[in-house]
């Protein structure tokens, strides 16, 4: 950039190089229908999901089945027990977090649900958490239950044997992606179209 020519009045003073412009905006959120149903369940220490016409159960529900693009009209209660499908061990304190490090943030597939939720695993050393481990919800004290998923403090091992065959969402059609190097590119037909029922090398991994 070419040299700036300043007028005499500001030529010999310390130039401003940055400016603070704090800004606060206030919002009032509403939860919407599906989330309200879910949080109403939480207040009663129940985990409520919603079922889509195709049978999928979503927890927490967001009102739409993203595969069908349709509303999920049926409320269903799922178990408070599930299986770890993946996880990471966190060794850093994040904003607003009061966790003792290391802690485990895991994907947990609740029995009866089709999609893993993300939550904390406690009451077990971090290095002993495993994919396939069975875990159960631990709630806050009754007096502290609020309409937030944080009312489930964390999950802890149930002591059951690991579910070594846990269906990891998405893995069902993994084989359909193969053979690129042999010259066969994947197509939409690799998976079953939930609207038409066409395609799919497996039954959408439901097995």
């Amino acid at each position: 950039m070419a040299e700036i020519v300043l007028p005499p009045s500001i030529r010999d003073v310390e130039p401003v190089r940055s400016v603070r412009t704090p800004a606060q905006l206030d919002y009032e959120f509403t939860a919407g229908d599906a989330t309200t149903r879910f949080l109403n369940g939480i207040v009663n220490k129940r985990i409520i999901g919603q079922q889509a016409p195709g049978g999928r159960v979503y927890v927490p529900p967001r009102g739409a089945d993203p595969e069908l693009g349709q509303p999920t009209p049926i409320d269903v209660e799922v178990a408070q027990v599930g299986t770890v499908t993946s996880f990471c061990v966190v060794n850093l304190q994040f904003y607003g977090s009061v966790m003792e490090i290391p802690y485990v943030s895991a994907l947990i597939l609740l029995d009866g649900a089709d999609l893993s939720i993300m939550h904390l695993i406690q009451e077990i050393p971090a290095d002993q958490v495993r994919i396939g481990m069975r875990v159960e919800a631990v709630w806050r004290d009754d007096a502290d239950i609020e309409p937030t998923f944080e009312s489930v403090r964390y999950f802890r091992p149930t002591g059951e044997p690991d579910d070594v065959n846990v269906r990891i969402p998405g893995e069902g059609h993994g084989t359909g992606l193969g053979s690129w190097v042999g010259g066969v590119a994947p197509t939409e037909a690799v998976i079953r179209n939930p609207r038409t029922g066409q395609g799919g090398t497996t039954e959408g991994g439901d097995a």
Partner: protein, 352 residues
């Protein structure tokens, strides 16, 4: 240019606040309504594009979860603009011109109700020299209205006529948020909200969603009797600083209208995205729209102003009138930014 037409349009009822639905829940009826009218599903769509902005509801990446409304599975060709849905429609039009796909879905939505909209919109302004003063969107529009009145070309009565006509026309629009039949005197008797603008010179704050289905050539003819063909579409922008523009005219609209070919034939109907009454007068002049054109028969943005959606609704309202045979040639306009900073103009025609 390849012949491309709007073949379907759907919108939700426009309301001050839609508390009971999240964004994806609110959007689904519009998307599925537009698809169902032409007996299509997402599987029949070649390209999907949407318009929205994170600032309204205060949530980053809100468009990510609203994509669930269309059911993007198996994966789809899709894009998103942080603009009014009218520009999403423009992107889809460009895509259709390439000749590789024959259909497109465009949608837009806004929940403005969680925030304080006139203050949220101050975040669009220059963040160092304007934003810290928090000049709300109504005040900024009022500066433009005063500049226009000062030219002597229009009076407060002319502004009132726009408001009265728009709210009256909206009585026939089941999706309108505001509609009434009041006289000019009632309007002029109102106190100023931010002088020289009265409350009724201003748009409502609106939650709502809309969707449009596009098709090219024979695909469009096979779906509807009278597709609304795009004959020209263009958009232009000006600097954001009010002091760098003549606020009493809309130069960007004038250029866009010229490029889109507005003057190439008679205009039966025009849907103009003018959130404030005086802006309709500026835009009519910029597009050269005269007395024979029906202006904003839907009631326009004065009757429902879903941010990032109201421009797309203008396109849908014109297309509906062409498809219904009540108009042969129409103009749709969308705007963005303070005081009509950015404008899109589209000319649509039916087959004769």
């Amino acid at each position: 240019m390849r012949d491309v037409a709007i073949i379907s349009f759907a919108q939700t009822p426009m309301r001050r606040r839609v508390d009971e639905l999240n964004e994806v829940e609110m959007l689904m009826p519009a998307v599925h309504g537009a698809l169902a009218q032409v007996d299509m599903t997402i599987d029949d769509i070649g390209f999907t594009c949407s318009g929205s902005t994170d600032y309204l509801a205060g949530m980053a990446f809100s468009f990510v979860s609203t994509l669930d409304a269309v059911g993007p599975w198996p994966p789809i060709q899709e894009s998103h603009v942080e603009m009014d849905g009218a520009w999403a429609l423009y992107e889809a039009w460009v895509k259709l011109q390439l000749g590789e796909i024959d259909t497109a879905l465009v949608y837009a939505y806004a929940k403005s109700s969680p925030g304080d909209l006139p203050m949220v919109l101050t975040r669009q302004l220059d963040p160092i020299t304007m934003g810290p003063l928090w000049p709300d969107s109504v005040s900024i529009a009022a500066l433009q209205a005063r500049a226009l009145l000062d030219t002597g070309r229009v009076t407060e009565g002319d502004l009132a006529e726009v408001a009265v006509r728009s709210r009256r026309d909206a009585l026939a629009n089941p999706n309108a948020q505001l509609a009434w039949d009041r006289g000019l005197d009632d309007h002029l008797a109102e106190d100023y909200l931010v002088a020289p603008l009265r409350r009724s010179d201003c748009p409502p704050i609106t939650d709502g969603a809309a969707a449009i289905v596009w098709a090219a050539g024979d695909e469009a003819r096979s779906k509807v009797d009278r597709p609304a063909w795009i004959r020209g579409i263009d958009h232009r922008i000006e600097p954001i600083h009010l002091g760098l523009r003549d606020l009493t005219v809309s130069e960007s609209t004038r250029i866009a209208a010229e490029k889109a070919g507005v003057a190439d034939g008679p205009v039966d109907v025009a849907e103009i995205h003018a959130p404030f009454t005086h802006q309709e007068l500026i835009l009519r002049q910029a597009m050269g729209l005269g007395g024979s054109t029906a202006i904003n028969p839907s009631g326009g943005a004065l009757c429902a102003n879903p941010m990032m959606t109201a421009g797309l609704v203008r396109l849908g309202e014109v297309a509906n009138r062409i498809s219904a045979g009540t108009a042969d040639r129409g103009v749709a306009h969308a705007t963005s930014g303070p005081c009509l900073q950015q404008n899109l103009v589209c000319v649509l025609e039916g087959d004769n």
